[in-house]
């Protein structure tokens, strides 16, 4: 037979073998999922690179080119970062200087004086943003945005900047230089993102691929040994393995394609991060994307071939049942537990190091501890089954006690996955001390004190601003003291009514107790103290204005911002310390990416462990088939799977959730920062519980189905 003909034959033999193999359906599903996961991860990696590239290209196109003698200024340009709630956005002030000045990318025509163009995401952000900066005149096109969800505004002031205000503007000869504006400002390096994707989602996808490749391997290994004995070379055996695995692998790749195709066609918002993918960027990278999508099944098929045993399986010793867990491993587990518990009393860096080592130790010891607990749980279930009578409980318990590895692998994946998710959440919820303090201040006084920073304050502009403020708002000035105390100044009535401060011509230190707003001001200003006085007739311009309200309405900040942007040049209106909150936004965003990848990784880990467990279950299942079939009670498989797989996993989920919560809360107390998000923990536990039930149901169904096909084969 020709080489090609033989290859086709061998591929066909493999395909046929796959259809009839015990547990074939389970392996089909496992390979299908693994192929889909690898395709998704490979596409995500290429997608990330494409997004970064597209963002860089657009950032380069929209950055201002400084004017020079050879390239005179055609536009005045200034930028400002702002926020709607805690979500930052970026404002670019523009003022064309010549009639033929080209607008920035994504802007078809210059907005008229007093008009504003918003990115679609910013226009939909609410919080009064649409009316805040001027008359809304339309949206910025995709060519001018780093990503479809970027929050960006182009604002043209009512009047061209003049005087002192003009100094804060840059003269640009046009656009076309990398600047780092908006989302392109200080991004995480692409290699870091790819590393996180690879570590948190790629490795679990490979774990799933490995488990799927070896799922139900006993039959295949026997076949491989037989083929080897018959003279089949490695290439022949590989072709049969490929023929068997190819249909599910290709189907899984096909399953991974619709999300990729959707992302190529329309903007897709990613869960958790809220990041919107630019389809154009992906389309530009289609050759690489196609290569990645093709590489995923190739990698999986290569794994299938590579993981087939190269030499015949040796050993004729009988299988041994559960062994005892070495005492030293349990001691190590106890030491890790003690380290985590004791770290809170050490505090500081030492506490954190001890805590981290203890947590790693706990995770490492989880399988050993799980094996011991699983064995005990199994014996308890069997005793209960013996006393109460249900055969499913008895058999499930005996299997768990005799084969704790099945449960342990599943339980370890569950516990480590839960721990990973919660640790990611807690780590990324960490703010620095100032940001945490700013949140606390906001919780206490809301927007009752707002700072307004607008460069040089023109008295007429300040009057106009004051006139536009909501009723009950009073304006004070704040002048930084340099080496002396910062000074709050205002009219006598304003000082008295706004902050209940005495009227003194000489600066008087703020009282140490009393009005909570005063106490918050003391926290945030004046390294050298803070004082208040009545406004002198002649004073140097203040560094900031304070807008104080007796009882801040829920929309106080929004209304003050609107007044500020209407009257002052490029104002920055913030609650006390808000700048620290916005400063950590980058870390919060990074944390969300890690959480997204980690969640995918957890799902893949659970899938891998579930498939492994179901495959093992199918290996034991045939032993029960004769009795079950002869008595017509194949439902017993569901009961056994429930007690052998689902119940231990549900117990693990509960115990793992409790330990994880304890670990997370201890972490918060050790670093005195961040918080444990109970919603994330509950969602992760619900996912694990659902997986526990699904693994039991799947294992039971597959085993019952296999048992119904069982027939005596002695003859």
């Amino acid at each position: 037979m020709s080489g090609r003909g033989l290859s086709r034959q061998l591929l066909g033999i493999g395909r046929a073998a796959g259809r009839g193999a015990p547990g074939g359906r389970l392996r089909f599903v496992a390979l299908l999922l693994a192929a889909a996961a690898l395709t998704a991860v490979a596409a995500a990696a290429v997608g990330a690179a494409a997004m970064y590239h597209g963002r860089d290209v657009r950032d380069r196109a929209r950055g201002p080119v400084p004017a020079t003698a050879r390239h005179p200024a055609t536009v005045l340009w200034s930028d400002l970062d702002e926020a709607a709630g805690d979500v930052p956005h970026w404002i670019v002030y523009v003022e064309p200087l010549t009639p033929d000045a080209a607008p920035p990318p994504g802007v078809r025509a210059w907005p008229a004086p007093g008009e504003v163009l918003l990115s679609p995401a910013l226009a939909a952000a609410g919080d009064g943003v649409r009316e805040r900066y001027g008359r809304y005149a339309g949206t910025i096109g995709a060519a001018g945005l780093a990503s479809p969800a970027e929050r960006l505004a182009y604002v043209r002031p009512r009047h061209p900047p003049a005087g002192a205000e003009r100094r804060s503007w840059d003269a640009a000869a046009g656009f076309g230089r990398a600047y780092g504006l908006g989302e392109a400002q200080d991004p995480e390096p692409l290699p870091m993102l790819l590393l996180a994707l690879g570590g948190l989602a790629g490795v679990p996808a490979l774990a799933l691929a490995t488990v799927a490749a070896r799922c139900g391997s006993a039959t295949r290994d026997r076949r491989t040994d037989l083929l080897r004995a018959l003279g089949a070379r490695r290439r022949h055996r590989a072709l049969i393995d490929v023929g068997e695995a190819a249909p599910p692998v290709l189907a899984g790749t096909a399953l991974g394609l619709p999300p990729v195709a959707t992302a190529l066609a329309v903007p897709v918002r990613l869960p958790i991060t809220g990041y919107v993918l630019a389809p154009g960027d992906l389309r530009a990278a289609w050759p690489l994307l196609a290569a990645a999508v093709a590489a995923a099944p190739a990698l999986l098929l290569a794994l299938v071939v590579a993981l087939a045993p190269a030499a015949p399986g040796g050993g004729t010793r009988p299988r041994r049942f559960a062994e005892r867990v070495p005492r030293r491993r349990l001691a190590a587990c106890g030491a890790a537990f003690a380290a985590v518990a004791g770290s809170q009393y050490l505090g500081g860096r030492t506490g954190l190091v001890v805590f981290s080592l203890g947590t790693l130790g706990l995770w490492a010891a989880a399988p050993s501890l799980g094996a011991m607990l699983s064995g005990r749980l199994g014996r308890s279930l069997a005793r209960l089954g013996r006393r109460a009578g249900p055969p499913g409980l008895l058999i499930g318990g005996r299997w768990t006690a005799a084969h704790p590895g099945v449960v342990v692998r599943l339980a370890a994946a569950t516990a480590i996955g839960l721990g990973l998710i919660v640790q990611l959440q807690v780590w990324t919820s960490r703010l620095n001390d100032e940001a945490a303090a700013a949140h606390a201040t906001r919780d206490r006084i809301g927007a009752a004190v707002l700072t307004v920073d607008a460069g040089a304050f023109d008295p007429a502009a300040v009057r106009a601003f004051t006139a536009r403020l909501p009723a009950g708002s009073r304006v004070l000035t704040l002048t930084e003291g340099g080496t002396g105390p910062d000074v709050i100044a205002g009219g006598c009535a304003d000082l008295r009514r706004a902050l209940r401060l005495p009227c003194t011509a000489a600066p008087a230190a703020l009282p140490l107790d009393g009005d909570p707003r005063v106490q918050e001001l003391r926290k945030w200003y004046g390294e050298n103290g803070i004082a208040a006085r009545t406004a002198p007739a002649r004073a140097r311009p203040p560094d900031a204005l304070l807008v104080v309200a007796d009882r801040a309405a829920p929309d106080q900040e929004r209304r003050v911002k609107r007044a500020a942007f209407a009257a002052l040049p490029a104002p920055r209106v913030q609650t006390l310390g808000e700048t620290w909150i916005l400063g950590v936004d980058r870390y919060v965003r990074t944390g969300r990416w890690l959480l997204l990848f980690g969640s995918c990784g957890l799902a893949l880990l659970l899938a891998a462990a579930g498939v492994g467990a179901a495959a093992e279950f199918l290996r034991f299942g045939p032993a029960l088939a004769p009795v079950a079939v002869l008595t017509g009670r194949t439902r017993v498989f569901h009961a056994v799977a429930w007690w052998h797989l689902s119940v231990p996993l549900l117990v693990t989920t509960l115990v793992g959730g409790a330990v994880t919560a304890w670990d997370g809360l201890l972490f918060v107390s050790v670093v005195r920062d961040g918080h444990l998000d109970w919603g994330v923990l509950a969602a992760a536990m619900a996912g694990c519980a659902a997986a526990a039930v699904a693994v039991g149901a799947g294992g039971g169904l597959a085993a019952a189905r296999a048992a119904r096909r069982w027939r005596p084969v002695a003859d």
């Binding site: 008895l394 005596p712 002695a714 003859d715």
Partner: protein
């Protein structure tokens, strides 16, 4: 005697164009034993599966304990099988993680018998058969002991007929003798019918009636 416990007439079964049973028939009375011999692939196991009702013949009648198993619904058949039939396989087909008494009690437990009665009956049978009852997993027993547990399991529900498919095929000579002694003593001790499929002439020789399955038909074996 009221009539045979197992009665098969004109049983025909073909699979993939190959006729395995072509008008096979046999009668086994209560307290009697029949050995079915024949070369490998002759259809001995298929015949047992037909008697168990796991395979429905293309034609013919099979009555076990007075009921035609070829015409019963799946549920009724399972119930009838639980009540009236016990089966011993070549490799025992026991759960190695369970104790012998748990293995022997399993069919009764699955059949809804109360746990006290099921375990007591299983324990009594195992003691009579000389198998360690507790304290060791079935997987750690010798081959002969495992087959005795399998016999106990087949007897646990007090069946009218015990079917055995190559019950000594995986045993050494000593264990084979012991298990054969045990099996062929069952009809007399328990009043049940025994059908043994075996290719071992020494085992077949112990049966009241020896049949050979050849060309799909059962015929009496000529005395040696």
């Amino acid at each position: 005697m009221v009539g045979p416990v197992v009665r098969a007439r004109g049983v025909r079964y073909a699979v993939g164009g190959r006729v395995l049973l072509d008008g096979a028939g046999l009668d086994v009375p209560a307290g009697g034993s029949v050995a079915v011999s024949g070369p490998s692939g002759s259809g001995k196991s298929t015949l047992l599966m037909c008697l168990l009702g796991l395979v429905r013949p293309d034609a013919g009648e099979i009555a076990v304990a007075g009921a035609d198993v070829t015409r019963m619904s799946r549920r009724a058949l399972a119930e009838h099988r639980r009540r009236t039939m016990g089966m011993v396989f070549q490799f025992g087909e026991l759960l190695p993680e369970l104790t012998p008494v748990e293995n022997a009690a399993l069919p009764a437990l699955l059949g809804g018998t109360g746990r006290r009665a099921a375990y007591a009956a299983a324990r009594e049978l195992l003691v009579r058969l000389g198998v360690p009852v507790e304290g060791t997993a079935t997987g750690l027993l010798s081959g002969g002991e495992r087959q005795r547990v399998a016999v106990a399991r087949a007897l646990a529900a007090g069946p009218a007929v015990v079917l055995a498919d190559e019950p000594t095929g995986a045993l050494d000579a000593e264990a084979r003798e012991a298990v054969a002694d045990l099996l062929f003593a069952l009809p007399a001790e328990h009043g049940c019918a025994l059908v043994v499929a075996t290719h071992d002439p020494a085992v077949a020789a112990r049966a009241d009636e020896r049949l050979v399955l050849r060309g799909g038909r059962l015929s009496a074996e000529a005395a040696a």
